[in-house]
């Protein structure tokens, strides 16, 4: 069934977009990530301009993460205090990121910067997660208890002042690294046009030692708020949010996310990390290959204004 999109100005197959939304929604519900780094390239591949894709995906991620957040809230798997502290940093980071984005665009190499940061970030994060997951599985196989939450392995982060007790997560942690993580995620999210969940989850697990039980739900809250913020920002500044496209993506996305969240609860933590690591690594490698091989067409056209 073909449908003409009012902002993107092209007809698309509704079922194809629904299926894409559902697939990405499943992944996002399972791993507690927004899935923007998967959805945006998919939409561009279908023929939607990058600007409209990025803007519309933001609202799609908001819907997916809200549905996911409700799911985790019922299971008491969200730490509200931790989410609030992260968010305070996230807002600052987003503002900084938007400013940097504008500066980079003025320099004229924004596309390259985005592609390079995708490659570096996705490969690094994906590779690390994959390796960690693999080691955890090996340890479990050999019957050695996980060393992840061994006391005394706290490091310098746990020596910082301004400590708060995050009750739901059962951790006692300084707010400084939490706010810093929020700033970094907000910044990366704004510059790369993604929610940043796939970076936030590993940072929370490995750096802040937040237990896996509250990591996903809490990161979803952060994703939800930043994506609602991003939707507003895109709608006000560039008028490029396609509500019809977003609605189709949402319907597919939230459905997928529900099943994804259930599937995620059934899979063991280290397996989940291994799978997510593989997925992120695969996307990173795909971007690397794209940069490395000779493109089919050396030329590209982009509309820059309506000639007025």
């Amino acid at each position: 069934m073909q449908l003409f999109l009012p902002i993107a100005d092209i007809p698309v197959n509704v079922f194809l977009i629904l299926a894409m939304g559902a697939a990405v929604g499943f992944v996002s519900g399972m791993f507690g990530i927004g899935g923007g780094f998967l959805m945006t390239p998919l939409l561009i591949f279908v023929g939607i301009t990058p600007a409209v894709a990025v803007a519309s995906v933001a609202s799609h991620i908001a819907a997916s993460s809200f549905s996911g957040a409700i799911f985790y809230w019922r299971r008491r798997a969200i730490d509200p205090l931790l989410a609030a502290v992260l968010l305070s940093g996230g807002v600052i980071g987003t503002a900084l990121g938007v400013w940097t984005f504008t500066q980079l665009r003025a320099l004229g190499q924004l596309d390259l910067m985005i592609a390079l940061s995708y490659v570096v970030l996705l490969s690094a994060v994906g590779g690390l997660m994959f390796w960690e997951g693999l080691r955890a599985i090996m340890r479990a196989r050999r019957g050695i208890a996980s060393s992840m939450r061994r006391p005394g392995s706290h490091g310098w982060i746990h020596g910082l002042p301004l400590k708060i007790r995050f009750k739901r997560s059962k951790i006692y942690l300084s707010v400084i690294p939490v706010v810093a993580v929020g700033i970094i995620i907000g910044f990366i999210g704004a510059v790369m046009g993604i929610g940043g969940g796939f970076i936030l989850v590993p940072i929370m697990i490995y750096l802040l030692r937040v237990p896996t039980s509250t990591v996903i739900g809490t990161s979803m809250v952060l994703t939800l708020v930043t994506m609602v913020f991003a939707t507003m920002l895109h709608a006000v500044t560039n008028h490029l949010v396609d509500a019809v496209l977003a609605l189709i993506l949402m319907v597919g996305g939230v459905t997928g996310a529900q099943f994804g969240a259930r599937a995620g609860q059934k899979i063991r933590g280290e397996h989940l990390r291994l799978l997510l690591g593989l997925l992120i690594l695969a996307v990173g490698i795909r971007f690397a290959i794209e940069l490395g091989i000779k493109p089919d067409d050396l030329f590209t056209i982009r509309e820059t204004g309506d000639g007025g």
């Binding site: 009012p6 709608a235 030329f299 000639g307």
Partner: protein, 263 residues
Amino acid sequence: MIARHCLAVIFAALTLCAAFAIRPADAERLIVSVSNHRVTVTPNYSGEELVLFGSVEKDASTPAGGADYDLVVTVSGPLADMVTRRKERKFGIWINTDYRQFLKVPTYLALFSNRPFDAIASPEVQRRQQLGLNNVLLTQRVGPDYADVVPNDAFRSAFVRLRSERGLYREATSAVTFLTPTLFRTEIPLPAEVPIGRYDVEIKLFSDGALVAQTVTSFEIVKVGFEQFVATSARQNGFVYGLATAFMALMTGWMASIVFRKD
């Protein structure tokens, strides 16, 4: 300065006289009509085809016997600025290095004729009347200057090729058919991803390699109903539109969690 101006005026007058000498003014008149002057884009729009009809009207001063006519139809869509970029291998990766800016070029451009342009007119006339994609003026910004370049310029040909691949630029030298020696028709195919706006249709009649008559008509492509409502509210009430979209997102997420709630 003044002398030079006078010279220019005299030269222009002479050229005009020469033109009139070859053919009397308004010997032929073109009457044309497009099958639809207002193409509406609805949710199930996926491309359309318009038909242009026309006839050549002769008056008493037209030489008897009736020469063979040639017809060229140029359809140009709304104008836009575009950038063509070229990738090059640097440090082992392919990055955009060089680019050309095209200023106020048509987003849709179609040229139709009844036979190859080379058969219709001399290269000089083809260039002056912009017959064919190779001769259409596509203004580029070259440093501080504005100019079109030679047709085989890498950026220009890449631009035309990429637009043609998307069905937005096209050239068909057998698309115009003469039903009788004076009655003609041609189809104007509009692709699915058609730019919204006003389209100018320029019809030029040639005889013996010279332009004898021309006329223009136009049609517009508009969004209607829901599409238009969404498009205009996104543009004019960005904040409200954003709020509505964000609210829609939250509602969808909430609905899903109710629908799929098992416990």
